[in-house]
């Protein structure tokens, strides 16, 4: 599946196709997909849940202003149906995730959070940056990372915990009004 072409405006593409449905999906898919990922939905499941939520919104002719809220509710509902075995705790957890989204990401589909994180990453020491690159971008195991950095597996875990805590603080400072 192709990635979103940020250089072509959704409106331009919609005008080309002459189809309001394309424009609607283009306007809302990025924030919706990111919301699902922020809720812990795996990437491939996020594709499917986001599609289903967008279909419901198109079917009910939800207008643009109401769409972000509607899509989040529909996506939560559909995702919860998939993980219903995990029960109420997951529903509460999703509510917390949505509250955070509403607080920091709802107005710009998460662009501000990603930008803040990139700035925070830029000021990390090289060793910390390398650790994140290996684990999050390349899928390296903690064991391999530990061997590469010449530390124990426990040390690698602690290192990652510290970096994550620092990043969380850094992001929150930057997002604070």
């Amino acid at each position: 599946m192709s990635r979103i072409d940020e250089t072509a405006s959704p409106q331009a593409r919609a005008d080309t196709t002459g189809d309001a449905a394309f424009a609607f999906v283009h306007r809302h898919q990025r924030g919706l997909w990111r919301f699902l990922r922020a809720c812990g939905c795996p990437a491939h499941a996020a594709d499917e849940v986001a599609q289903d939520a967008l279909l419901l919104a198109l079917e009910r002719n939800v207008d643009d202003d109401a769409a972000p809220g509607y899509l989040r509710q529909a996506a939560k509902f559909l995702w919860l149906r998939r993980v219903r075995d995990e029960g109420r705790s997951h529903a509460r957890w999703l509510d917390a995730a949505e509250q955070l989204w509403q607080q920091d990401c709802a107005t710009d589909a998460g662009d501000g959070l990603i930008a803040a994180l990139r700035t925070c990453l830029d000021v990390l020491p090289p060793r910390s940056r390398l650790a994140l690159q290996r684990v999050y971008a390349e899928g390296t195991s903690r064991e391999t990372l530990a061997a590469e950095l010449g530390i124990g597996e426990h040390g690698a875990r602690t290192l990652l915990q510290r970096i994550r805590a620092a990043l969380r603080d850094c992001i929150e400072r930057r997002l604070a009004p």
């Binding site: 283009h26 509710q73 509902f77 994180l117 999050y136």
Partner: protein
């Protein structure tokens, strides 16, 4: 709770900021689904904002529904879940012409290109299977007399099929005449032109989730077009002698694949199977019967010269060694993070490879039928298995293996151990102590005796029991078991009225 949510959000943000993922473009698929009326299939979501009185009304209604349900007489059988429509069987153009235009699912046998074009009238078609049974016989399978010049679709079929825009599932099995369009290395306008003129047409099916091209040969240069199928999640290329290491390179570009079946692909090296771990969402992998025995074996001389070339090439590749589920394959696959099901019957691995099974992080269902020709092998296997829900095996398994299963597999639900002659009543007693066990296949277990009956009668957790080909089982035993086991839904035995379900192998 909020800290967990913050952590999960950071996980996603880090992956995106570091370039490991990006939001996908869902517009084309979503709008195609919308136009196909797919919204009706999506469960209705809750209305975003409930008012207080609506919540109270909903609560009262829920109470009423619960009370009504509790007092309602229960049906004898639980309601069956919603199912995909049952396909209509057709054998000719006349059969197709007689179908209503709203037909949703068709299973066809022996069509030619002309009959296939008649399907274009069925604009709502979601599911299509086209089979040629004379070309689908494998190994020592049942031999039948093939027709002299059986009809078959050719590679032009892909252009026709691409016009069935609502197709979600397309299965083409044994269509040997298609292979004639795929010479080794391509020709004429080159491999890419051939791919575009054939499988490339399927790109026009935005909803296609499942594709089966089995029992005929398609090479890597043609399968490269599969990466353009945006909705493809499940792919089956069984008994395809064009499948080799280059095909795996092409498949690695289909990054959304969740299920992949490459059974009896004889030219597929173990080192290439190992690379399938790179598919990030792969949950189900079948690489069974790559064993030098399960070759396509239909009789008759209806195969074209290109098909014969692929077969000869596959024999040469297999004879060189290293094909199938080798030690390298298992070591590589152990890195697959989301793999839940691995079907690898008749593997070519040694004890070293089997030990890699302990490193599989997510494995729940394992079929290694045919591994375990010595007690040493079965002992190592028992010690190497990760916690499973399903296990299927057949070999020199004995009571010691059963004892280890009982101790090490506390959540096993489904166990197939047929024709294990060294398992005695003591071994069966160990197996039946696994409280989660629901499905047990111990057919042809010659080491069991009638003294095992009290053990079986006490196994009240069982829902499925296969006792076929056990000489001492009588009709009286079957009746006793039916009375004693309250959850038992299927009981197979060589007793009149209890042998209807065909064997899977």
């Amino acid at each position: 709770m909020t800290d967990d949510a913050r952590d999960t959000r950071l996980d996603w943000a880090l992956r995106e900021a570091l370039g490991a993922e990006a939001p996908p473009d869902l517009a084309r698929v979503t709008v195609a689904r919308f136009r196909a009326g797919d919204a009706a299939r999506v469960p209705s979501a809750a209305v975003p904002r409930h008012t207080h009185w609506q919540a109270v009304a909903a609560l009262l209604l829920a109470c009423l529904v619960v009370a009504t349900f509790a007092l309602w007489p229960r049906p004898a059988e639980p309601a069956t879940p919603a199912q995909e429509p049952e396909p209509v069987q057709v054998y000719s153009r006349a059969d197709i012409d007689a179908l209503p235009a709203t037909t949703l699912a068709v299973s066809a046998v022996g069509l030619d290109d002309s009959a296939l074009s008649a399907l274009l009238r069925l604009r709502e078609l979601r599911f299509l299977e086209i089979r040629y049974p004379e070309a689908m016989v494998l190994g020592l399978g049942l031999k039948t007399m093939p027709p002299k010049q059986p009809p078959c679709i050719t590679a032009t079929c892909f252009d026709t099929l691409a016009k069935l825009s609502k197709l979600r599932t397309l299965r083409i099995r044994g269509a040997h005449a298609i292979t004639e369009a795929f010479p080794f290395g391509g020709s004429g306008g080159g491999p890419e032109a051939i791919a575009n003129a054939t499988i490339g047409h399927l790109e026009r099916l935005p909803l296609l989730e499942e594709l089966c091209l089995t029992h005929f040969d398609v090479p890597a240069y043609a399968l490269a077009a599969l990466s353009r199928l945006a909705a493809l999640r499940r792919l089956d290329l069984s008994a395809n002698y064009g499948v080799d290491a280059e095909v795996v390179v092409a498949l690695l570009r289909c990054t959304r694949l969740q299920s992949l079946t490459l059974d009896a692909c004889m030219a597929l090296p173990g080192t290439a199977i190992a690379r399938l771990a790179e598919l990030p969402h792969l949950e189900h992998l079948a690489v069974a019967n790559i064993d030098g025995m399960s070759w396509r074996s239909g009789g008759g001389d209806f195969l074209g010269p290109t098909t014969k070339d692929y077969e000869a090439q596959a024999h040469r590749a297999y004879d060189l060694g290293g094909c199938g589920v080798t030690d390298a394959a298992l070591t590589g696959l152990s890195r697959a993070k989301s793999l839940r099901t691995l079907l690898m019957a008749e593997p070519s691995c040694s004890l070293l490879g089997v030990r890699a099974l302990r490193d599989f992080q997510s494995l729940e269902r394992l079929d290694l039928f045919g591994f375990g020709s010595s007690t040493t092998e079965t002992d190592v296997l028992a010690d190497s298995l990760p916690p499973l829900l399903m296990l299927s095996a057949c070999g020199e398994f004995d009571d010691s293996f059963c004892n280890k299963l009982r101790r090490r597999q506390p959540r096993l639900e489904h166990l197939e151990l047929p024709a294990c002659y060294a398992i005695t009543d003591q071994g069966l007693a160990q197996l039946l102590r696994i409280g989660t066990l629901r499905h047990l296949d111990i057919r042809q277990s010659r080491g069991l005796s009638a003294a095992a009956m009290p053990l079986l009668l006490a196994a009240t957790q069982l829902e499925y029991l296969d006792l076929r080909h056990i000489d001492w089982v009588t009709k009286a035993h079957v009746l006793e078991l039916q009375r004693a086991l309250p959850r038992l839904r299927t009981l197979l035995a060589n007793v009149e009225g209890h042998e209807t379900e065909p064997s899977g192998r």
